[in-house]
Every structure is written in structure tokens, then in C-alpha cells.
């Protein structure tokens, strides 16, 4: 299979998984104690009060809110994985310039996801 097809499938699967997680999460949510707080336009429940490392475990125990959050994480991860496959693709073509360029793009993503949050506040 061509790497281009791998990329196509990776993107599609990423979106499908995240949509399924969000829908299941919404279905489970009605039992959540924060439900009315969650559906207010000015709700105080947002991603700043959530510990991302706890989301996956709590999602699989059937917490609606965490299932939705896990879905959003999968969605954000999808383009990141796409860039990673890009590095492999250019390395296989022995295109040194574009392997380096793609690694820089990947670094920018890591900067935004893991490094910068350590330095702000």
C-alpha cells in the first residue's frame, strides 16, 4: 500500500474515532452531576480545569465528559500523526531537505502541545 493511502486512511480513521467517542460521551453525559453547568453558554467547566493525563482512564470507565474530551484529543492528534507519517515519507524518498522541514513542523507542534504550557504561568 502506498503511503499516500496510509495517510488518507489515518485521517479518516482519526475523525471517525473522535466522532464516535464524542457521540457516546454525549449519550453518557445526561447522568453527569455537572450537566446543567456544562450546557450553559458561560460554563466554567473548560479545558483549563482538566488534567489531560487522567482523561483516557476515566473515559474508559464511562465518564461522559471525559469521553468527549478524549474524542477532542484524538481529533487534535490526527494532524500530528499525519505530520509524523510525512517525516517517514520524505525519509523514504531520501529527500533530506523536506525531511528536515517536516521535523521542524513536528517540533513546532510539540512546542505548542508540551513545551510552551510548561512556561506559561
Amino acid at each position: 500500500m502506498d503511503l499516500n493511502d496510509v495517510i488518507g486512511y489515518a485521517l479518516r480513521i482519526g475523525v471517525i474515532i473522535s466522532v464516535i467517542l464524542i457521540i457516546i460521551g454525549l449519550a453518557f453525559l445526561s447522568g453527569n452531576r455537572d450537566f446543567s453547568e456544562l450546557v450553559s453558554p458561560t460554563s466554567r467547566v473548560n479545558t483549563s480545569v482538566i488534567n489531560p493525563t487522567k482523561v483516557p482512564i476515566s473515559a474508559f470507565s464511562g465518564n461522559g465528559l471525559d469521553l468527549i474530551l478524549l474524542g477532542l484529543m484524538v481529533l487534535i492528534a490526527t494532524p500530528v500523526i499525519r505530520v509524523l507519517i510525512g517525516i517517514i515519507q520524505f525519509a523514504k524518498e531520501r529527500n533530506i531537505l523536506y525531511t528536515i522541514i517536516t521535523i521542524i513542523v513536528f517540533f513546532n507542534l510539540m512546542l505548542a502541545i508540551f513545551i510552551l504550557p510548561l512556561f506559561i504561568h
Binding site: N4, D5, I7, G8, Y9, L11, R12, V15, S18, V19, I22, I23, G25, L26, L29, F35, S36, L38, V39, S40, P41, T42, S43, V45, N46, T47, S48, V49, I50, P52, L65, I68, L69, G71, L72, L75, I76, A77, T78, P79, V80, R82, V83, G86, Q89, F90, N95, L97, Y98, I101, T102, I104, V105, N108, L109, L111, A112, L116, P117, I120
Partner: protein, 285 residues
């Protein structure tokens, strides 16, 4: 009961936004943020957070189809991603500064201006299928700015090359910054960067722009996540709604060649743009 009504209005608005966004080629977010802030009284932080998330969903969904068509130029897209991701990081940090200092009115006004300026290229678009060739420059060779694709409408294999990589990078930096600042994909600006600055065929520009939007939005969303601008329920429903709307739009699009209908959408956008500026001015005074 009010809760259900709110969820329902989120879903309907995001479907409408996705539909109009896909028919105009501007993406759902451009329509979504004004609807959320003006009509549903959602704070602009949450509106832009939800719209960024929806942008990733639609971009990835559409890109999976384009990759199969082999029209997207991954090399050119990845090269320009250096600038858009850097711009997205800086734009998100500026957005955070603006919200922390209660200056959100600035974003309303910038948003209005961005909507109004993106209408112009829409109105005069589709004059030329393929660009007039410009002499290749040194960037064409160094950054390997060429490719070919099969054009179904023209029934021929199109070989093309791009020029002025540096100019493309400068425009992409601002596209990324606007994206991080306003929570939109800023596809219109990305297309200008490739179509006008780099002289690439419009089909390559639009599909490559779509590919880049996902990566740009992922960069800003992770910062938005950290800043707390993503409200899970709102973002989740919006992602699904915009996906449904833009999918429906993509099915309807080939059947619509009606200029009058496009004009109506442009009027809706003009109305939303002016409303955003008025809202910004009201918040300022």
C-alpha cells in the same frame, strides 16, 4: 428543557455554519464564530475554541479524500507549514494576552474586517483554471516546487511549478497568526498565498490549503486547550455539526452553479462581518 434547547441551537447553528462555509469555500469557522457570539451569547473565547476544533475535523475529513486524488502537494504544504505553525503559536499567545487584559473587542473588530476582506476574492474567483506561467526562480529549484495532477474538468494531466517561496512563507505566517488569533482556518489567506504569490493552479492551492489548515489548527488548539478556551460540550457538538453541514454542502456544491445563490451567501457574510465590527465597537465604548 432550556438545556436541551441550547444543545439543539448549538447543533443547528453549527450545521448551518458548516453548510455555508463549504459552499463559499471559507470553511465553517468563519460563519460559526459570528453566529455563536452574536446570536447565542457565547463568550468569544469559547466560540473560537469550538470553531478551531471543528476546523480540524472538517480539514481532516476532506483531506482524506483529496489525498486519494493526489492533487494536494504535500511538499509545498509541509514547507509552508513551518510558517503557519509558527504564526499559529504567536497568534494564540496574542489572543491569550488580549483575553487576559479584557480587550476582546479588538478580536471582534479584526474578525469583522477579515470576513469582509475575504468576500472580495470570492466574488471575482474562478476566472482562470490555470495560472499564466511565470519564469521559475531559484526557490522553484531549491524547494522543489513542482508537481502534476490529473484535472477531471480539463481532461488532461496538468504539470505545474511554483515561484516566490519566500513570499508564500510571509503570507502563510500571517495566515497562521490570524488562525491562532481568531480560531478560524484562514483558508482564504492561505489560498491567496499559493494562488497569487506562488502562482500555483487554484485546485492545488485549495486542496493544499485544506491540508495545512488541520496542522495549523492542531497547533493553536493545544494552546487553546491549555488556556481553557475549549468548552468540551460546545466543542464536541460543534465538531459534529460542522462536519454534517460541510458534508451536505460538498454534496450540493457540484449541483449549484447559481450565481444568485452565491450572492445571497456573500450578503450573509457581509452582514455578519459588519455586525461583528459593530459589536466590537459597542464593547469598546
Amino acid at each position: 428543557m432550556n438545556d436541551i434547547l441550547f444543545i439543539f441551537s448549538l447543533l443547528i447553528s453549527s450545521i448551518i455554519a458548516g453548510f455555508i462555509g463549504s459552499l463559499t469555500g471559507l470553511g465553517g469557522a468563519t460563519v460559526l464564530v459570528p453566529i455563536y457570539t452574536l446570536f447565542l451569547s457565547i463568550p468569544i473565547e469559547y466560540a473560537t475554541g469550538a470553531s478551531l476544533i471543528s476546523t480540524i475535523a472538517t480539514s481532516s475529513g476532506a483531506a482524506s479524500a483529496y489525498v486519494k486524488d493526489r492533487i494536494t502537494n504535500v511538499r509545498i504544504g509541509m514547507g509552508l507549514e513551518i510558517a503557519t505553525t509558527t504564526g499559529a503559536i504567536i497568534g494564540s499567545l496574542i489572543a491569550h494576552y488580549i483575553y487576559e487584559h479584557h480587550l476582546a473587542f479588538i478580536l471582534f473588530i479584526i474578525f469583522g474586517i477579515v470576513i469582509l476582506t475575504s468576500i472580495y476574492p470570492q466574488l471575482k474567483k474562478a476566472s482562470l483554471e490555470l495560472p499564466k506561467p511565470i519564469k521559475p526562480d531559484w526557490t522553484t529549484r531549491v524547494f522543489q516546487l513542482y508537481g502534476k495532477y490529473y484535472d477531471i474538468a480539463l481532461h488532461q494531466e496538468v504539470e505545474y511549478y511554483g515561484v516566490r517561496w519566500w513570499l508564500g512563507e510571509i503570507i502563510m505566517f500571517f495566515a497562521g497568526m490570524i488562525s491562532g488569533l481568531l480560531g478560524i482556518g484562514s483558508g482564504a489567506l492561505k489560498v491567496i498565498g499559493m494562488d497569487w504569490a506562488m502562482n500555483l493552479p487554484i485546485k492545488v492551492s485549495t486542496t493544499t490549503s485544506n491540508f495545512m489548515i488541520g496542522v495549523t489548527a492542531a497547533t493553536s488548539s493545544s494552546l487553546y486547550w491549555f488556556f481553557g478556551y475549549i468548552q468540551p460540550l460546545m466543542a464536541g457538538i460543534t465538531a459534529i455539526g460542522v462536519l454534517i453541514g460541510s458534508f451536505a454542502g460538498s454534496k450540493v456544491l457540484p449541483k449549484i452553479r447559481n450565481v444568485r445563490l452565491r450572492l445571497i451567501f456573500m450578503l450573509i457574510l457581509a452582514f455578519l462581518g459588519i455586525e461583528m465590527i459593530i459589536r466590537g465597537a459597542q464593547l469598546w465604548i
